[in-house]
């Protein structure tokens, strides 16, 4: 699946799933711009992607005007974004009884509003090009729920609804919009969970193991490729059979 000559933007590409996605798209021939929240993070991404001609850039998705400015810069320096992967995300877990407004707002801004902002920013050039790929990283939690993650689950479910609506809006222009919903993937985010909870979660996975970031990246590569031209508005569940919606 070649992405030769296409410009791909992957948000949150420093580590975990985002890093695997950025590397995989770059290895498939795309010119990948990976973003991080810090200068040093962007530099590290740049070093990693350099072998494929990719670059790292700073993006703080919560910062006013930052996404529009980034898309503008990319357009001038590298060409219009053909593939957008909205991956950047954070967690602020806690029981609802104890959840602060700040915890809710931070998740909504970083995990959901950023998807709206970035998707809108790339849309103009994609509409003109009559082709485009937007892939949003949702989560199994947005479909099945998870105690302690009301904010995160709400944002991820929001992404899925956003994806379906946007897919209907822009389908006539050849732009596809899909989600990949990772299950329990071995990353820093899930390594932070207590051992007992990890074991309990693995017990619910049909394949009996955690997923790898590469499993998600491969699904994203497929949706970004020409092979997935007739797939839109869908949520591709990559969870080892943890949930079969």
């Amino acid at each position: 699946m070649s992405l030769q000559g296409k410009v791909a933007l992957v948000t949150g590409a420093s580590r975990g799933i985002g890093a695997a996605i950025a590397d995989t798209l770059a290895a498939a021939g795309a010119k990948v711009i990976g973003t991080a929240t810090s200068e040093s993070g962007a530099a590290a991404i740049g070093e990693r992607l350099a072998q494929w001609g990719g670059v790292g850039m700073v993006l703080n998705v919560g910062e006013e005007g930052a996404i529009d400015a980034l898309i503008d810069t990319i357009g001038k320096e590298h060409g219009d974004v053909a593939i957008l992967v909205n991956n950047a995300g954070i967690t602020r877990d806690g029981l609802l009884m104890r959840m602060k407004d700040e915890d809710w707002d931070a998740i909504m801004d970083t995990n959901l509003k950023s998807v709206f902002k970035a998707s809108k920013a790339v849309l103009r050039s994609m509409m003109k090009a009559r082709v485009g790929r937007i892939i949003n990283i949702a989560s199994v939690v947005g479909v099945m729920g998870n105690a302690g993650q009301t904010n995160y689950a709400a944002a991820k479910a929001g992404i899925i609804g956003f994806t379906k609506s946007m897919a209907r809006e822009v389908g006539s222009r050849g732009i596809t919009v899909n989600c990949v919903a990772p299950g329990f993937i071995d990353t820093d985010m899930t390594r932070a969970l207590p051992e007992a909870q990890r074991e309990m979660l693995v017990g619910q996975i049909a394949l009996g193991r955690l997923g790898d970031a590469q499993d998600i990246a491969d699904a994203v590569l497929f949706l970004a490729s020409d092979k997935a031209a007739y797939i839109t508005g869908q949520t591709l569940h990559v969870n080892g059979g943890m949930l079969m919606p």
Binding site: R124, M127, K128, V170, S172, R173
Partner: protein, 79 residues
């Protein structure tokens, strides 16, 4: 310079995929020329490019006919 009305009509015809002869000065994009809401957004984008201006969203919403587009462009090009 080609006059504004002719340039607007040409863009409308191109964007909406209709014959230029069908585009009258009083044609409504949606009612007469079969545009949907996304077409009208794209049309405004094309006008912005042709006339090298930026049309704010609240102004763009009011442009629903060829005449309104010509009026808007005329008013803003002379500034």
């Amino acid at each position: 310079m080609e006059n504004i009305e002719a340039r607007v009509k040409k863009i409308v015809a191109e964007q909406l995929g209709v014959n230029e002869a069908e585009v009258k000065i009083d044609s409504s994009f949606v009612d007469d020329l079969g545009a949907d809401s996304l077409d009208t957004v794209e049309l405004v984008m094309a006008l912005e490019e042709e006339f090298e201006c930026e049309i704010p969203d609240e102004e763009a919403e009011k442009i629903t006919t060829v005449q309104q587009a010509v009026d808007y462009v005329t008013a803003h090009l002379n500034k």
